[in-house]
């Protein structure tokens, strides 16, 4: 690491974590200027990489003494600018805290450090037939700490619930530097008092730094059956989703891709999906063998009735995994069909999918931009990808505008401006369209319980005049984009 300490605070932090765990040179700080939301960049004053809860607490106390804002950071794959630095802040990165501390099969919990990669929990357990359920598409690169902060979802959250349903307890370093145990300590199902664990999950790094997480682990199901179906358009695919859900079937996952998304995925991966279709659904049913067979057969009937062109079941596990790999690589695959894209994340009532996708296409067309869709259809959680060419003046701005209009459509249908990526920097201004000033003031009461000075991730989530006037900077590729699967997909 560099010996040129740019910030006068460098030595203070180095005294806590060691000089090699403080990043201070402008060149190295560049990596930390943004997360997966690439249009915004702010250079932090310093980045520190503590290795223990005690070091985190000491760094938090020091930051407080120095009056520096704190921005926690996991792997930096967030898509809402949650880990975007604030002016003059210290970024506390948890990447070094990546131990699985304890697996307790008798109580069906695991205790992990925040820097553990999501998939590594399952990797550590799968030989014994256990797994950690929440599966964001970024699961091979994102951290549990980031998942906790965003309350991340994933395809199989349709049946199994989101991060919040799988986190039983936490260790939190609060903004005043105290180390506090929240929630369950060893798998006990309830604890006394307010559900602070439930509040910290999804609090986007504004309540403190999570330094340990007690997660629920599940026994893997007896069987998983995957169904793959194509449709003339997203209308029929949306109708199939409604029919399946409406019939009382609870699949593990139902994901949808539209024609553009299929084109990109086929170009980028080994899947042999047809290109002459309007949409496809990828569905998993899992559970007890006899039940899965029955449920899959029934879902198939509904898919047929909705007007499917072709229905396939993968012939073996390899083919099944390939299909899912295709789906999970979808964001990254966009690079094949567009120089740039803007990921949106909104939620609508799931019965409205067909209608809303048509409105979104119209919004894109009006702006002269294409919009690809690949999303968690069973939950009504849309991910429109607004495609643009950053070299053409005005296109990036137009793409952002379309993204914003999409959120307004979601709200008009009674939905939400974010289903899993968080509000962060990106959507702070839209939160004020979803909630009233009184709603937001009430949320501030919760926030200031933890952080009365509002020093943790200070410019996120809540709309402020300063934020809402901001314009995105020019597009520059970021490390996450060139990091294999993480690459914007």
């Amino acid at each position: 690491m560099t010996a040129i300490a740019v910030s006068p605070a460098f030595d203070h932090f180095a005294a806590i974590v060691g000089a090699k765990n403080v990043v201070g040179s402008p060149a190295e700080l560049r990596t930390y200027e943004c997360d997966g939301l690439l249009g915004y960049r702010v250079r932090p004053e310093l980045v520190v990489l503590p290795g223990t809860t005690e070091e985190v607490a000491a760094c938090v106390v020091l930051a407080r003494e120095l009056g520096m804002p704190v921005v926690p950071r996991g792997a930096g794959t967030g898509l809402s600018g949650g880990a975007l630095p604030s002016e003059g802040c210290v970024v506390i990165g948890l990447a070094r805290m990546k131990k699985i501390l304890e697996v307790d099969l008798a109580n069906r919990v695991a205790r992990v450090q925040p820097g553990v990669i999501n998939l590594d929990i399952t990797r550590a357990l799968q030989a014994d037939g256990w797994y950690y359920a929440p599966d964001p598409s970024s699961q091979s690169v994102c951290t549990i700490g980031g998942n906790v902060a965003e309350n991340s979802g994933g395809a199989h959250c349709l049946k199994y619930g989101f991060t919040v349903n799988h986190v039983l307890g936490l260790t939190l370093v609060t903004p005043d530097g105290a180390v506090v145990a929240l929630g369950s300590q060893a798998g006990e199902p309830d604890v006394l008092g307010y559900d602070l664990t439930g509040v910290v999950v999804g609090s986007e790094g504004m309540t403190g730094i999570v330094t340990e997480v007690l997660v629920r682990i599940l026994r893997s199901p007896q069987r998983t059956q995957t169904l793959f179906a194509t449709f003339p358009s997203t209308d029929e695919a949306g109708d199939a989703v409604s029919r399946i859900i409406g019939a009382g079937i609870v699949p593990a996952a139902i994901e949808m891709c539209d024609a553009l998304a299929i084109e990109a995925i086929v170009a980028a991966t080994d899947v042999d999906w047809p290109l002459d279709v309007g949409a496809l659904l990828l569905m998993d049913a899992d559970g007890v063998e006899e039940e899965v067979d029955e449920v899959a057969a029934r879902a198939r009937t509904h898919v047929e009735a909705a007007g499917a062109l072709e229905i396939r079941a993968p012939k073996d596990d390899a083919e099944r995994l390939l299909a899912w790999k295709g789906r999970k690589a979808a964001f990254a695959a966009m690079g094949r069909i567009s120089p740039n894209y803007y990921v949106q994340d909104g939620v609508i009532p799931r019965k409205e999918i067909g209608k809303v996708l048509r409105e979104i296409a119209a919004l894109g067309a009006r702006a002269g931009l294409r919009v690809a869709n690949v999303f968690h259809a069973g939950d009504g959680n849309l991910h429109p990808l607004v495609l643009y060419d950053g070299r053409i003046p005005g296109q990036e701005h137009a793409a952002e505008e379309v993204g914003g209009e999409i959120l307004r459509v979601c709200l008009r249908y009674g939905g939400s401006v974010t289903g899993e990526h968080g509000v962060g920097h990106d959507k702070a201004c839209y939160l004020g369209e979803q909630f009233s000033p009184d709603d937001l003031a009430t949320m501030q009461m919760i926030r200031t319980t933890f952080d009365p000075e509002r020093r943790f991730n200070p410019e996120k989530m809540f709309p402020t005049p300063r934020l809402c006037g901001d314009k995105p900077g020019a597009y520059v590729p970021h490390a996450t984009e060139t990091a294999g699967e993480a690459a914007r997909g």
Binding site: D190, L192, V199, V288
Partner: protein, 406 residues
């Protein structure tokens, strides 16, 4: 407007008001707040014994007239209801569409949505469906200062903003009144099977439970009655539930030398009756809560014998429920005033390496004030106090009733 008398954890309010609309509820709360009067909310009155006696109580606000179904979207499996609607009201509406809110709370004709959420009530099917925390997707509240606020929304997936719904669950109305709640719903399973396993030895119980998990069965509920009869239910498709019941009866039980038999719907219902009794009867009622590997044995050994209602435990969750008559737990002449609560807590803490605790859902009038129904506060209590302070700086809203006197 004074209706029938109520007593909240032993305290009788001076006045009872019954707002006719949420606007009226907000207006009343604001008025009380501005006049610095203490208030508490009352739903169906099924859990008024829970918690400490409020420090002050001028007015009880009944939610019974706020019982509208605000919005039901069967295709989306979500429903928004006012807090005073009862579980039975909801059951009736949902059943028409083959759906349910899977919170098996007894006394459905009286239990209101607001009350169930505020007390975080659950039953045996928590095994599959979780609690209100897992089912709530949105809430609107009237804050202690009379301001209305919303959190969450009407869609099943949503991470916009701080999670007010989670905070409303189990807060015992100390952060304001729950006005409306939005839930995600589940389809009523087409088939259900129940099996009973009878145990002589605790070791066999643990082994059989373990094998159920290892064999990847997916029970809807697992409840142990009187530390002897384990009732396992499966729900889902016909073939799926049949197959699981068969595996349990024909393979798992014999392998552990345990007697097992399918239960008819009638027999299962009789167990359900016992379960209701343990939630309703007895002047002492309490829950032992601990990591799942611990509490069944702990509770069985820690709790005085001859309970009034058959004890029920959920061994995969880590919960045991007991009900006792006043006499069973009556103190010996020379005992400390909080006996046997104190002993019970010590034993549970000891056997669970301080991971377990005991919550009293009901305490006889004679023991009120002598016994802390909640027990020692958790390490995060300072944050909880600040939270309460932020919402209710004047301490007017159900003051003192919650843990640590919040």
């Amino acid at each position: 407007m004074t209706a029938t008398a109520v007593s909240i954890a032993g305290v009788t309010p001076r006045e009872i008001v019954t707002p006719r609309s949420i606007d009226e509820l907000a207006a009343i709360v604001r008025e009380l707040h501005d006049a610095r009067k203490a208030f508490a909310f009352v739903g169906g009155g099924t859990a008024l014994d829970l918690g400490n006696s409020p420090r002050a109580l001028d007015v009880a606000v009944r939610t019974s007239a706020l019982d509208a179904i605000v919005d039901y979207a069967p295709e989306d499996q979500t429903i928004t209801v006012e807090a005073g609607a009862t579980l039975a009201d909801l059951d009736r509406v949902l059943a028409r569409h083959g759906q349910m809110l899977p919170l098996d709370v007894a006394d459905r004709e009286r239990s209101t949505i607001g009350g169930v959420v505020a007390t975080n009530r659950y039953g045996r099917r928590r095994q599959r469906y979780g609690t209100a925390k897992d089912l709530i997707v949105g809430v609107s509240i009237v804050r202690p200062d009379g301001v209305r606020a919303r959190g969450g929304g009407k869609v099943v997936k949503n991470v916009a903003g701080f999670d007010l719904p989670k905070l409303a669950v189990g807060a015992l109305g100390t952060l304001g009144a729950i006005a409306t709640v939005t839930f995600r719903l589940y389809p009523i399973p087409e088939a259900a099977r129940a099996v009973v396993l009878r145990f002589g030895r605790e070791a066999a119980l643990g082994a059989a439970l373990h094998e159920m998990i290892v064999r990847r069965l997916e029970p809807e509920s697992v409840a142990l009655y009187d530390y002897r009869a384990l009732v396992v239910t499966f729900a889902g498709t016909q073939r799926g539930t049949d197959a699981q019941a068969r595996t349990l009866v024909d393979e798992i039980a014999p392998a552990h030398g345990v007697e097992a038999a399918p239960l008819s719907e009638l027999e299962r219902e009789s167990y359900e009756q016992r379960e209701r009794a343990v939630r309703r009867d007895g002047s002492w009622r309490f829950r032992v809560i601990a990591p799942p590997a611990e509490p069944v044995a702990t509770a069985a050994n820690a709790v005085p014998a001859t309970p009034l209602a058959v004890p029920v435990a959920y061994p995969l969750l880590g919960i045991a429920l007991h009900a006792h008559s006043e006499e069973t737990l009556a103190a010996p002449p020379d005992a400390a005033p909080d006996w046997p609560v104190h002993d019970l807590r010590e034993t549970v803490a000891d056997r669970t390496h301080n991971r377990g605790h005991v919550v009293f859902d009901a305490i006889p009038a004679a023991a009120r004030g002598l016994v802390d129904p909640w027990g020692p506060t958790p390490p995060s209590f300072a944050l909880m106090r600040t939270l309460k302070q932020n919402f209710d700086p004047h301490g007017l809203c159900n003051p003192g009733r919650f843990i640590g006197g919040l």
